[in-house]
Amino acid sequence: MSRLRELLMPAAASTVARDVDSLFYFLLGLSAFFFLLIAALTAWFVIRYRQGSRVRRGAAPTHNTALELLWSLIPLALVIVIFFWGFHGYISAAVPPADALEIKVVAKKWLWQFEYPNGLRTVNEIRVPVGKPVKLVMISEDVIHSFYVPSFRIKQDVLPSRYTQLWFEVTEPGAHRILCTEYCGRGHSDMLGVIHAVSDEEYRSWLESGGGLGEGMPLVEFGRLLYTRYGCEVCHSLDGSRLEGPSFKGIFGKPVRLSDGRTVTADEDYLRRSILQPQTEVVAGYQPVMPTFQGLLGEREINALIEFIKEQK
């Protein structure tokens, strides 16, 4: 049985997930029963009463109030049970406990940005303690996105007009995938994130060390990690092909024509200005849609990215 559970659903990893799974399998059993009932009856009638078969036919009833009442009330009772079971699960998932760790989430075209109460900011990745409730307060900067963690069985649209919230309490340590489920354009399927559920101490030490991303990693390699982790790859290709933004292939040191007609050379300063204030110097022929990374990237991260771009010959 557990092998079937693995096949059908990702392993349940949050407190809420368990009742969602039990309701899911109850519904699966119920549906299988009714489907087999209908299929079996149909098959039996089609074979037994096929034209020309010698079998007692006589006057069959064209309506039978008792039977019709029966097969209306039984499904009605069943669906009312299912409703309350589902409603109970939904309410308990919708109400975050008071002492939950609150993380601010900002969804923008094609990346998730997180901010911890102590000001630590990360992109597309968060680390949370196991066994403690975590509450996400979410807003979007452009269109509607939707925060979905399959292994926690939770999902909530992220609206541009107001805050929506979501909470979970992880039971299984490990990495749990975040996906966007509300269609939001070209990078909709690239808005992937990950939740690392770790023990309390590891979480606390990670928090103090300011995220500790890329410790001891050479700059270029750290730049490549940031290139994927911070979603640069969604708009800037490495092979020269044109996406939402210009490709990084061979641009370092080259003259670049801007949309306002000026020409600048793509040196470290230009790259740094483009990372922190992307809207000021947009390359000709591209839209000013790049979000700013001001406050999101420390000095080490910016240097790593520039080194990585330099390497793209």
């Binding site: 109970h88 308990s92 109400v95």
Partner: protein, 122 residues
């Protein structure tokens, strides 16, 4: 059809209906100036006057009173669907605050919050 037998007095009926409509228009303009408790009550009054005028037009000018009932049924079903759409959209917009744990506490809380919001709203 019944309508033909009422043919002679029709002009007088239409005149009576028109004057009633004009009077109701005056009333609605005057009523808008008076402040009845909350803005919500004013809206309800304005809409009831408007509905009175609309039903006068529908019953007499549009002959719903003395014709086959199918037309009136179509009209009423249309209004019912509009009512459902209005009601459920309003209900959703009103009840959007975060919720309390526990089913009964939750339902009680909603009832209190929505009624208070409606009375004080708009």
């Amino acid at each position: 059809m019944k309508a033909h037998s009422a043919a002679e007095r029709a002009p007088r009926t239409y005149l009576a209906v028109l004057s009633a409509l004009l009077v109701l228009t005056v009333i609605t303009v005057v009523a808008a100036g008076v402040h009845f408790g909350s803005a919500f009550v004013n809206v309800v009054i304005a809409l009831t006057i408007a509905s009175a005028k609309a039903s006068l037009v529908a019953l007499y000018f549009m002959h719903l009173r003395h014709e086959r009932p199918i037309n009136a049924i179509i009209f009423v079903v249309g209004l019912a669907m509009l009512g459902i759409f209005l009601m459920l959209c309003f209900l959703d917009t009103l009840a959007r605050e975060p919720v309390e744990p526990g089913l009964t506490a939750q339902l009680a809380d909603w009832a209190v919050r929505i009624s208070s919001r409606i009375l004080s709203a708009s």
